[in-house]
Amino acid sequence: MRFSFTEEQDMFRDTVRDLLADVCPPDAVRAGWDNDDGRVPGLWPALAEMGMLSILAPEEDGGLGMDEVDLVRLLEETGYAGVPDPIMEHVAVAVPALAEAGASGHLAAAIAGETTCTIALTGGGDYVVDAEGADLVVVERDGGLVAATEYRVEPQASIDRSRRLGKLVAVDSVDPLSGADPILANDRAALGTAAQCIGVARRLLDSTVDYVSERRQFGKPVGTYQAVKHHLADVRLGIEFAAPLVHRAAWSVAHPESHDVTTRARDVSMAKAMAADAVDRACRAGLQCHGAIGYTDEYDLQLWLKRGWALAAAHGDAPSHRDRVADALGI
């Protein structure tokens, strides 16, 4: 029993954090709002190059052969940076599904960053992130997964302009992904979303702590008021106790030999329920402690507010995940 990450995992996390701070600052995210695909130029190849896209691909397929424990904090960083690319869908769900199905051609292109994959799972609702811009959609249907490569999309604008949502209205060409498990794919998507929620919540907290430490009203920094302190202490509490459940769920997903499907579902759903509540609280407190400036288009806080609203509900909101936990508990 040792609940901590390795030095190598810390280093990988730091590398990703540095890359994102460099290539994916808020300005780059905003720039994507008006380009063709909403994404950050140069980010995808850079992520491919450092191996991030292939973490969950086996070494024999040219991947890093790592697992969800290695991945989970990198996804937190993508939330922290507000990455608009469909990184969670691609790396946490599509790549391992392609690998498990032995779809080696699709897999090779995906881990090289030549293609972008997204996902259309029953647990993810009606709208697919980046469906238009992606090359391949891992679609759940008829109790299995298929890889759709030709399909038509009806765009559905999200309030978060970095989330290019679309509805799949027709799928014209598919490869079955037999061997890939749709229940596992849904759990991976919920886990990945939970990790991103943690990152978004951390970013909201850091930004707000910075702001209230500087901003003065009534002759002193806003952050000296006890009400503001307690709002932000509550945000920290939410993150502090959600993150371990997210890391624990990553372990659960990565170790099928000791976690049956019910246990995995319970662990993943605990993580998503707590992470969704944590980011929801971070959104509310972050905006309230900023005051009017946080409410503006020009100020960057909104990037994480909107992402937080969306991710809290994506791949199952907190009550629906608590229901899964309750079912697992037999109550």
């Binding site: 409410y295 288009d297 020009e298």
Partner: protein, 389 residues
């Protein structure tokens, strides 16, 4: 106690309801925070004015119909339940007009009030500054007397309707030596005054909900002072009482939203979507709280009609309505599930994205007109009497 409407009130309600049904715009207007939508809303103000329904609580001499508070509450309920558009005139009618009635000269009243009632003048509020949000006493925009003009230099921000308004009611510092509350003056500024630049600021969904104002040797006539020079704080606080209290936030708007929320549940059921019992409970709770706000308001109205003044209790109302409004809309978005994040333009957006729009609007409620943290301080110190320090 008598909670039935009298025959006179029933008649009033029916008249109001019929007029709205016959006259309200057939289609939703465009956003009042766009140039075209602003003018559409101004036209609607004119229609209301022509029908005698733009400012029913005002004296008939200024375009109103001398409604008492109960009639005004009935009117507001009918107005919002009818689905009529939001009021682009609200800043002026709710915040400025009570101040003009209280502090304006006869000439100011005669000049400004009818034009406000008819929509000819749409007003924006110019109080906040980058360094003076909830802390209005920190206002730094200077207005230095030069003959029969003031010369303004400084910056205002968060002016709702500021991008397109015709006039702005400001608080400025006329005595730079005085500190905090002293030396402030309440000044009415035409939007076309020379030396005034306006820059729209988008709210977080991109709609230009506010403006920044830049004063660069901007000249404004001295007779546009409301009240006395140097008395701006007292004058402004009287209006702040209005903003936080009864005038701006009648229950009608929240009751209408609560009704729409229950209607949304029925619609979702009709679409064969299952309603989670926890969500149903949230809807019910929000609906009950809208009713609580309504009845608390009727009780307050009775006290006011008996001659009481609405003091710090206004802070109770402001906290309650702003958090209710947020919860009404957040509940709707949760009910909508993955459709909750869809923007107005999305094909699948429910009701044209109105719930999301309303949610974004509601988010500002706990922030503006004195944050709810400050309101809770007021409740604790002035209503409950807890020690300040």
């Amino acid at each position: 106690m008598d909670l039935e409407l009298s025959p006179r009130h029933l008649e009033f309600r029916d008249e109001c309801r019929s007029w709205l049904a016959a006259n309200k715009p057939a289609r939703p207007l465009r956003s009042m925070d766009t140039a075209a939508g602003f003018e559409e809303h101004r036209e609607w103000e004119r229609v209301l004015f022509d029908g005698g329904w733009s400012v029913p609580g005002w004296p008939a001499s200024y375009g109103g119909r001398d409604c008492d508070l109960i009639e005004w509450l009935i009117y507001e309920e009918e107005y919002w339940l009818s689905g009529a558009p939001g009021r682009v005139s609200a800043n002026g009618v709710s915040l400025l007009a009570p101040t003009i009635f209280n502090f304006g000269t006869q000439a100011q009243q005669d000049h400004f009030l009818p034009k406000m009632a008819s929509g000819e003048h749409i007003w924006a509020q110019g109080w906040s500054e980058p360094g003076a949000g909830s802390d209005l006493a920190a206002i730094a925009t200077r207005a230095i007397r030069d003959g029969d003009h003031y010369v303004l230099n400084g910056q205002k921000t968060w002016c709702s309707r500021g991008a397109f308004a015709d006039w702005i009611f400001c608080i400025v510092r006329t005595d730079p030596e005085a500190e905090r509350h002293a030396g402030l003056t309440y000044l009415l500024v035409p939007a076309d005054a020379p030396g005034l630049e306006r820059r729209p600021i988008g709210r977080l969904d991109g709609e230009p909900g506010f403006a920044e104002l830049f004063f660069d040797d901007c000249r404004v006539r001295v007779d546009n002072v409301l009240g006395e020079e140097g008395q701006g704080w007292a004058v402004a606080m009287a209006a702040a009482g209005s903003e936080r209290g009864l005038n701006l936030r009648s229950p009608g708007r929240f009751m209408a939203a609560a009704e729409r929320l229950t209607e949304l549940v029925r619609t979702l059921r009709a679409e064969q979507r299952e309603i989670d019992p926890r969500r149903r409970d949230e809807v019910t709770d929000a609906w009950i709280r809208a009713q609580a706000y309504r009845w608390q308001t009727y009780a307050t109205a009775a006290r006011l009609m008996d001659g009481a003044e609405l003091g710090s209790e206004a802070s109770l109302m402001k906290v309650f309505w702003s958090e209710l409004d947020l919860e009404l809309h957040a509940t709707a978005l949760r009910l909508l599930g993955d459709r909750g994040e869809l923007a107005a333009g999305a094909p699948d957006a429910v009701d044209g994205g109105r719930w999301l729009d309303g949610y974004v609007f509601a988010l500002s409620g706990p922030i503006y007109a004195g944050t709810n943290e400050i309101q809770r301080n007021i409740i604790a110190e002035r209503v409950l009497g807890l020690p300040r320090r």
